[in-house]
Symmetry: C2
DNA sequence: TTGCGTGCAAAGGTTTTGCATGGCA
DNA sequence: TGCCATGCAAAACCTTTGCACGCAA
């Protein structure tokens, strides 16, 4: 998937170390930047962008694009989710931003359908279902400010 | 959904007239802008943004956000069908970047499944399936450059 | 006449790029 | 030593906003 040699830099190590403390949590480039800034360590924004993008290619990190105007969200996956059986789907609520993890057998049928009918190999790690979660649906019924 | 009075301006009429010639097709704000420019008629980009956004509210136009960095896509729906089934799904190839449009009835089942089993209201406009398209899958078998 | 619509310019914010420097192997 | 990685500044990019003018009702 990649032919470039990979260096093990201090910035990358520190970034990974931080990411491991927030697995499954959504963070932006700015979140990372501010975190290190407030801990007396400055890492250039450009570096964060490039490293995170590299980790996405490596499958260590998921990248979610919530909205065209808001910054992209990154999520450290961790080592445990690398088996096919443990693959989970994500639902992201457009209202409250809540991320829902689905370990649903039935949703695996989507992969099969896309593959057999449309010759498309779905990547569940990268795919996010956007919509409105149950909590926000009920809120909407009550009050509309 | 909206209480403001609606004016029938020349720009809006011309924009609608153009949109009617490309129903179901994906166009960007810049596409519209360039189209009128090349036809000797200039409509301000701001106006196009505002009118298209208004038409989204009115249900005349769909707005798709494929990728955070690429411009938003707009799609004229037309008067004839306002049913939810007309909304199309998108598959984005991670290799070649190709965008595939799916008007697939079976995929609508995903919406029903998510709603009934997970109380999640799927928004097909924002949801993009990421993966590898058929062309790139075959390329991968042949050569890996 | 009223006030929404228009469009230019400028700002806003996120991401990318150029380039010189620094650091890993 | 040879590259890759870094990081600053600046550019690129899409989109929104401010404001004066125009135009529909």
């Amino acid at each position: 998937m990649d032919s470039k040699p990979k260096y093990k830099t201090k910035q990358r190590e520190e970034l990974l170390e931080y990411l491991k403390t927030v697995p499954g949590k959504h963070i932006t480039v700015n979140d990372v930047y501010e975190y290190f800034k407030q801990h007396g360590r400055t890492i250039g924004q450009t570096t964060i962008y490039r490293q995170l993008e590299r980790m996405v290619d490596e499958g260590l990190v998921n990248k979610y694009i919530i909205d065209g105007n808001s910054p992209a969200c990154f999520e450290f996956i961790g080592e445990h989710v690398h088996s096919k059986e443990e693959v989970c789907f994500h639902c992201k609520c457009e209202k409250c931003g809540r991320l829902i993890h689905l370990h649903c057998e039935e949703l695996v049928e989507i992969q099969n359908h896309l593959l057999q009918r449309h010759q498309f190999v779905l990547n569940p790690m990268r795919t996010v279902f956007y919509g409105i979660c149950d909590a926000c649906s009920m809120k909407k019924i009550k009050i509309t400010p």
